[in-house]
């Protein structure tokens, strides 16, 4: 039942309701202030909305695919701008996350998204703007978006061409996604060089994967993310667990477990912040290439027992950050505050000592492992 066909006029509140619900699964937070938390514990930081849920695409997992009978509504760029400003002034959000269904051509949709971001910036909006663009967005629009959005990108959805054509039959992985990621990367690099030392805004590249819509293993997703980080300077990958939607070709499929999304996020942070390589995770996958439901860093440490314990007072930064419970910030604090003599000092630096204890040696002392104990007994 669409707005157009039913003849029913939807109020702004009703339209907002439909379109905001359409983005509830999208993860898009930046690391700034959270203004509210939903009953599911997730931070509500941005005004997340679709521009429209009219869509010409036939993506098999999507609730807004063109063949599905759903209420179709749109918000005009002016309306989105006004709502964003109102919430922002109210101190209820930090910015806007804008995605959309494809209205006819990707170019038209992206142009509308650009219009919203430009309008906000022209009105002096200093908040965060995140645009999720359409596959096939033209280069000249990407060029303009880089100057108004903090983060933007095209969703990769999956790891390769054949998987992509299976779930997004209207678009081409190579041309509509990878080519756009490549252009985005080049535009951002060029603009960073051009605006170095100035306060001009230059966006960053991001993408999203639908986890579990096709049977790609985690190893494939991790390798793709790592490749994107190298090739396209991907700032941050987002993951969305697949949930079957009624009246779609994938409605009979099983939903992806929620922990899978969480473990993939953890791996992506390990790739980005810890400098761990995608190949290093080969030892933590099961025989089918999937991660288990436990902390990947802990699994990695368990699989490389010979690297531990590391001496807190002499280990390098790269060795320290491999210890579960020690992150880049606490590793940096340790390096600056050496020598350290007590676990208490580590706690104060933000180290989760309970997790780190089996893998560290402090002041010549380390926790005995069961294998050491058995060895000593024999």
């Amino acid at each position: 039942m669409s707005e157009r066909f039913s003849g029913h006029h939807f109020s702004l509140t009703e339209r907002m309701k439909y379109l905001s619900s359409g983005t509830k699964y999208d993860s898009c937070n930046q690391s700034a202030i959270c203004h509210a938390f939903g009953p599911d514990g997730r931070c509500i930081q941005l005004y997340k909305t679709l521009l429209t849920n009219y869509c010409s695409g036939e993506c098999t997992y999507c609730p807004n695919r063109c063949e599905r009978d759903v209420t179709r509504v749109s918000l005009s760029p002016d309306e989105i701008t006004k709502i964003t400003w109102s919430f922002y002034r109210k101190n209820a959000i930090e910015g806007l996350f804008l995605s959309s269904g494809v209205i006819g051509e990707p170019e038209i949709t992206s142009q509308k998204q650009l219009e919203v971001a430009t309008l906000l910036r022209q009105q002096g909006f200093k908040g965060y703007i995140h645009l999720r663009l359409m596959p096939g967005t033209p280069k000249y629009i990407l060029d303009q978006i880089a100057e108004v959005a903090n983060k933007f990108g095209v969703n990769a959805e999956t790891t390769n061409k054949s998987n992509y054509s299976e779930i997004c039959p209207n678009f081409d992985y190579q041309n509509d996604v990878l080519q756009r990621l490549h252009w985005t990367d080049r535009i951002i690099r060029k603009k960073r060089k051009e605006f170095r030392g100035t306060n001009r805004l230059v966006g960053a590249n991001d993408t999203q994967f639908v986890v579990g819509a096709v049977n790609e293993p985690d190893s494939e997703i991790v390798n793709t993310v790592s490749e994107f980080m190298k090739k396209y300077s991907l700032r941050r990958p987002y993951f969305m667990s697949f949930d079957p939607v009624p009246d779609t070709p994938l409605s009979e499929n099983r939903p992806s477990p929620l922990w899978r999304e969480q473990r993939l996020y953890q791996v992506s942070y390990l790739l980005k912040e810890y400098g761990i390589k995608a190949d290093d995770f080969d030892v933590v996958y099961d025989e089918h290439g999937f991660l288990s439901n436990s902390d990947p860093k802990l699994e990695l440490a368990k699989a490389n027992r010979d690297m531990f314990p590391v001496d807190i007072n002499s280990a390098s930064f790269s060795d320290l950050i491999r210890v579960p419970g020690i992150g880049p910030i606490s590793a940096d604090r340790i390096l600056r505050s050496r020598p350290l003599f007590e676990e208490k000092e580590l706690t104060r630096m933000g180290v989760v000592v309970g997790r780190a204890r089996p893998f560290i040696c402090i002041n010549g002392k380390s926790q005995a492992s069961l294998s050491d104990f058995l060895e000593a007994c024999s």
Binding site: G38, P39, I44, K90, A92, K126, R348
Partner: protein, 281 residues
């Protein structure tokens, strides 16, 4: 001897240096010179008693004072926690701080900046806790305080436990550089971007002066719009009350009306049943 000082970082550091030199001196503070003069009338034994005034210094001179008080290594811990200068500022803003005792504590650190953070002494632990409480309170305000938006003014009424209203006002002013912002606490109003109203960029006024500038009533419609938006972001099968309560603790509901409503939904969840469901049966 009496050492007088203001509750500002530069003045407190200067007073700590004086107290290191004259450990038996009496400490006296006031928010301005008049208050100090008034207090001196009660405290001064006779006119011959020496009075040393620790004047406030500009922010450029603070590193120099820190160096004198804590040696060259004073900035070493800036990565491990909040920087020492910020630490001192936070403690000074705490509602329970005894300023004279804090000045003596700073002097008693004997140049060891670690004493501020390591919580080995009872005082060290207390001031560290004060610092954390003030920081937490400020962050909570930035997260959960809401504003009333008028045509020509943004107003936020708050009542934080510590003196951080000016900080919050400056923060709101930076967020909204194109509008004047007023933060009202009891009968005082802090103004940021005051030049739009003919005041200084940052100013402190009686609240009554701001009340007269309110041009319209509270926008209830916007709050309803937010309620609706909030409810759309909930994923039913991911409800996690434990995590949600941890992220939005109960005390946040006292910060603003909107935060209270959000907190209620964190506690009770969002009902799917509406009046319409009853009438349509």
């Amino acid at each position: 001897m009496i050492i007088t000082f203001f509750p500002f970082v530069g003045s407190v550091l200067q007073a700590s240096l004086y107290i290191m030199k004259y450990p038996y001196a009496e400490l006296l503070y006031g928010s301005n010179s008049a208050e100090i003069e008034m207090k001196l009338c009660f405290v001064k034994k006779d006119d011959t008693e020496k009075i040393l005034h620790a004047a406030n210094v500009c922010s450029d001179q603070i590193p120099e004072l820190m160096k004198k008080l804590f040696s060259n290594k004073w900035h070493k811990f800036s990565k491990a926690d909040i920087p020492p200068v910020k630490y001192i500022e936070c403690v000074l803003r705490h509602s329970s701080v005894d300023l004279a005792a804090f000045v003596r504590f700073l002097a008693g650190c004997n140049g060891n900046i670690d004493a501020l953070y390591n919580k080995r002494s009872r005082e060290g632990k207390r001031y560290y806790t004060y610092m954390r409480e003030v920081t937490k309170s400020y962050h909570s305000l930035c997260m959960f305080a809401r504003t009333e938006v008028f045509d020509n003014l943004i107003i936020s009424e708050i009542n934080p436990p510590h003196s951080i209203s000016d900080l919050f006002c400056k923060w709101l002013g930076r967020r909204n550089p194109d509008l004047p912002v007023a933060v009202i606490q009891n009968d005082i109003a802090y103004i940021a971007n005051g030049e739009y109203l003919g005041y200084k960029h940052f100013d402190v006024l009686p609240a009554s002066e701001i009340e007269s500038l309110r041009s319209s009533k509270r926008d209830e419609k916007l709050e309803n719009l937010w309620d609706m938006y909030y409810c759309t972001q909930m994923i039913d099968n991911r409800r996690n009350p434990g995590l949600a309560k941890k992220m939005q603790p109960a005390y946040t509901s006292g910060i603003s009306r909107m935060a209270a409503k959000d907190r209620y939904r964190v506690e009770r969840g969002i009902s799917n049943t509406t009046l319409f469901d009853f009438t349509s049966i």
